[in-house]
Amino acid sequence: MTEQLKAKDDQLAAKDELIKVKDERIALMTANRVDLNTVNTGDARMLSACESQLAKADAEIHRLRYPGFLRSIFDTRTLTGAVVGFGLGRVTK
């Protein structure tokens, strides 16, 4: 009888130990889930920031590629071309 009780005590001690280990594991997994959720949220935030930056870059490229009528007339390259063209016209006249 005493031996049976001792065996049961041992079994209970093992179960207690197992519960303790599982509790520890759960705590670690919970902490991991929190950190991974933070990573996922941050990734989503950065993805949206990246998309917004890409949109801005696209707008900048478009602005540089198509500067508009007024700006292309008064562009320094256009003016340089005009002056050079005028000068060459005078020389070859």
């Binding site: 280990v21 941050g42 950065m46 602005r63």
Partner: protein
């Protein structure tokens, strides 16, 4: 200054005065447009720099978080191996005295190290197999019943 310039302009004979006036107008328009362009470009550059700073800060924070997760994964592996050992000890009816507990700790630590060094996200059963195989190869003071352990840990 402007009055002086206008006075100087009046001293220039025609038709050069008109040419100079038109030239000044063109230069003024070019300067205004260039300034406007510069302001817009500065706005874009600033936004870009802000984004890059934010991106770098997040990369650092992300690395720290993932490092912590990896560290905890290692501990989880260790606990998983410990669980296997406890279940086996319980099944064998062996009391976990200090000597056995120390041996189990050493064995589970080694098993976790081994498991983490080759780790990739894997299925629970495969991980269980790996843990058991490692435990068995390290010859712990108890017999590990792998199937029972995997059933217990991986059962849905």
């Amino acid at each position: 200054m402007i009055t002086w310039l206008l006075k100087q302009l009046d001293n220039i004979p025609q038709p050069y005065r008109t040419i100079v006036r038109w030239g000044a107008l063109v230069v003024a328009i070019v300067a205004i447009l260039a300034l406007f362009n510069q302001v817009r470009a500065c706005g874009y550059d600033k936004a870009r720099r802000d984004y890059e700073d934010q991106s770098k800060a997040w990369a650092t924070e992300r690395a720290i978080l993932l490092g912590r997760v990896a560290e905890r994964d290692k501990q989880i592996e260790q606990l998983q191996a410990k669980e296997a050992a406890i279940i086996a000890a319980d099944k064998a009816g062996k009391k976990l005295d200090d000597d056995i507990a120390n041996k189990i700790d050493a064995v589970t630590k080694a098993a976790a190290e081994e498991s983490i060094s080759t780790d990739a996200p894997t299925d629970c059963w495969i991980r269980g197999d790996r843990v058991c195989a490692k435990l068995r190869s390290l010859q712990p003071p108890i017999t590990i019943d792998c199937d029972a352990y995997k059933r217990k840990v991986c059962a849905p």
